[in-house]
Amino acid sequence: MNSETLNTLDSYSKNKYKYGFVTEIDSEKPKKGLDEDTIRFISLKKNEPDWMLEWRLKAFSKWKKMKEPKWANLNFPEIDYQDIYYYSAPKGFDKKPKDLSEVDPKLIETYNKLGIPLEEQKVLAGVAVDVVFDSVSVATTYKGELEKLGIIFCSIGEAIQKHPDLIKKYLGSVIPAGDHSFSALNSAVFTDGSFVYIPEGVKCPMELSTYFRINAENTGQFERTLIIADKGSYVSYLEGCTAPKRDDNQLHAANVELIAFEDAEIKYSTVQNWYPGDEDGIGGIYNFVTKRGLCAGKNSKISWTQVETGSAITWKYPSCILKGDNSIGEFYSVAITNNFQQADTGTKMTHIGKNTKSKIISKGISLGKSQNTYRGEVSFLRKADKARNYTQCDSLLVGNQCGAHTVPYIDSKNNTAVIEHEASTSKINEDQLYYCRQRGLSHEEAVSLIVNGFCKQVLQELPMEFAVEAQKLVSISLEGSVG
């Protein structure tokens, strides 16, 4: 988030809420479990047209026949899909904490370390003070500016109502509903997410973030995002927030689809810091995310940057299908696991077009009793002449009870394509530690400094202000496990 927006937020938050009334919040809850009725209920609640309901039901019938993918290096109890609420209406005020003093002090401590302003903390912690600042009007200001350029940026629900043609054409075109069981599940029950359309030749002037979108609350559980960049356009999209967020929903299965046409570029940055469970590995979010970008046109580019520090289980492979000639796919990732966290993350680069290029930089850091796996596939199909890939994945182990794993899949069917992969695993260099400590840094500070240096290659790909916060986040994630 840049400083300008922070100032705007600040000034708005000082103003008292102009419209002093509170809407009664509908506390209707659907029943637990997943069947056709649940899907009909969701579709009805979202006021969706019939074709959307049909689409969901089709996905559901596919999901019923599917099994969860089992190849990941993860250990977790079987998910009982019938024991989950699939539509969570906004919570009533009476259940929310009334004051920051009622919020878990640990959470507040982390907010302070990240340097999040007090007012924002209240929103993040879900404090029920009327409305702390009028996020709606902030968002509308931005929205006006975007509309002038012809950019569509709204919730996916709104897009289904207002832009059915685009949705019909592109939703599920990169990640088909039947791709695997989590994508089918998401397609059947998704409730929120973003829709972005950048028209031909437009460079989006600001970083788009869910934070400024109306209904940004309660994103989460089954998020569906679709970003379309038309010819010659550019967009940078930020997902998530460095601030830790508590969420009651244990299962998360988001789908994100990106489509870049000729000469278009999409930059997608994520900071994921969901609740990872406590020190004993109890609780925490299961995060099963499918992210896929299609470089449909010539010279298009898709770049994924992710900082993964949260969730008990991370299952995530942002990938690129490089279909257009000369298209470029990039993947930068930092994954930090602590305590009993498990992460199986990586990417998939499928080279179809000529002269396509991809670059993968992955940094994994494991601490405590965690397991951190990089899993990446690079494949060159027959027609990918002169395609090029460079992969580097480094792992750092801190402590002798964690595990770091690297599982690359490399497949070449073209004899002009060049593929390079290198990986290394080691512990923190004793000499570097010694050097830092000699200059007066504590052990913990020294480790944090070295780890930040280890991740620098990836962190510098993040938008500026985000990168600063991410650096702090890296240090916080290391806390308590070093020494």
């Binding site: 002798n400 490399i410 497949d411 070449s412 004899n415 695993t425």
Partner: protein
């Protein structure tokens, strides 16, 4: 005929079939095959294999008895001609060779270490019909050359060999597989290296297109022992090289290397798997492949470092050169690390021959083919020049020249 029928039909002829323990174990294996019929989709190691040859084998199963030849022509040097997977017993003060039948069944029937996740090893335990055991006695320095010959067409050999290198011994083992007939060999080598022993294992594979070779090695190394394996695959038929190595005691080393040369429609599947189970061990895995025409290859390598295996050094490297549009190479170099004080790395490259290098040579008056050939030779030169056995390097150079003559 499928595996189950084959088993029932040949039950009586399979080794140790009278033993009840083994019988019940084999019934279990049969069940595995029934439940998990070679599932290509979920088992990457079955990529590119023409399974028909192995599942519905119509081959002759009963092997004709032929006398093998053991020569001790030079001091400390033996040459063995093993016929149809068999070797007669032999004994002197340095080595001891035992035919499989004379031996306690325990040594040959149990393949638990690798079984269950490898169907071809399961097949071997199920249909075992030949094999031998070689013991190198304490503190001896021995050279052995084994030529594996199959006499009849349509034979199916399920062979298991046990090698034991006793304390302080050193063995130079050269195995040759050169068969011209239409048959299948499924060979499992189980190697035990005692304290301070050393084994240099060379495998030269050069079979005709209709001979299928499946070779699996499992070596385990104790204190200060070293296992070095070099595989040279010039075969025109299908070859599967799966090599497992376990470093079970401190200061041991495993070095698994291989080069394969493929052309036409040939395929080859390769795997190396090193398990570090003790401190201060070293491992190295290097595979290089040259693929021409419509050939296909896979290479899986895996370094597993256990929590206790501190100060481990493990390196992997895989390199592939694709000479034609239709060749394909799949590589999966895997690292699984549970200890923190380790130095592990892997590298993998696949690509064509460097165009700049070709340009350089051509600008000095060389034809394109000559330049290509020179660059292929230099690609594997490091491996070839490290062979310290003159006779061996001569054999391999000849085969390399033969391969290069077909490159256009």
């Amino acid at each position: 005929m499928n595996i189950q029928d084959n088993y029932l039909k040949n039950k009586k002829n399979i080794f140790f079939s009278e033993n009840k323990d083994i019988q019940s174990h084999r019934e279990k294996l049969i069940n595995i095959f029934e439940n998990d019929r070679f599932d290509k989709k979920n088992n990457e190691s079955l990529k590119n294999i023409n399974l028909k040859n192995f599942i519905d084998f119509k081959y002759k199963y009963l092997i004709p008895e032929e006398k093998s030849v053991i020569n001790n022509n030079e001091k400390n040097s033996y040459s063995i001609v093993s016929i149809n997977g068999q070797c007669s017993s032999y004994k002197d003060d340095k080595i001891e060779i035992t035919k499989i039948l004379d031996e306690d069944y325990n040594d040959f029937s149990k393949n638990d270490i690798i079984e269950n996740n490898d169907h071809f090893v399961n097949l071997n335990s199920l249909f075992l019909n030949s094999g031998f055991k070689i013991v190198i006695k304490k503190n001896n320095n021995i050279k052995i050359k084994i030529s594996n010959i199959i006499t009849d067409d349509d034979l199916t050999i399920f062979q298991k060999n046990n090698y034991i290198c006793e304390e302080g011994s050193s063995l130079n083992l050269i195995e040759e597989y050169e068969n011209r007939n239409n048959s299948t060999s499924n060979i499992l080598n189980v190697i035990k290296l005692e304290k301070n022993s050393k084994l240099n294992h060379f495998l030269i594979q050069d079979n005709s297109p209709n001979h299928n070779l499946i070779i699996t090695t499992h070596s385990s190394c104790k204190n200060d022992s070293t296992y070095t394996q070099k595989v040279y695959n010039f075969s025109e038929g299908y070859v599967r090289n799966f090599h497992y190595s376990e470093l079970i005691e401190a200061n041991s080393e495993a070095d698994l290397q291989g080069i394969f040369f493929l052309k036409d429609n040939n395929t080859s599947n390769n795997k190396t798997f090193v398990k570090h189970l003790a401190e201060d061990c070293k491992s190295n895995q290097v595979y290089k492949g040259i693929l021409n025409d419509r050939s296909k290859a896979t290479y899986f390598s895996n370094t597993h470092v256990d929590q206790v295996a501190q100060r481990t050094e493990g390196y992997q490297l895989s390199k592939g050169v694709l000479l034609s549009d239709n060749a394909s190479y799949f590589s999966k170099p895997e690292l699984k690390i549970y200890a923190d004080d380790v130095k592990c790395s892997h590298g993998s490259t696949i690509g064509p021959i460097d165009e700049n290098a070709i340009f350089y040579l051509r600008s000095r008056g060389m034809s394109k083919i000559a330049a290509t050939k020179i660059l292929i030779s230099s690609f594997i030169n490091e491996e070839l020049s490290s062979i310290d056995n003159e006779q061996m390097s001569e054999i391999i150079n000849k085969k390399l020249v033969r391969y290069l003559s077909k490159v256009k």
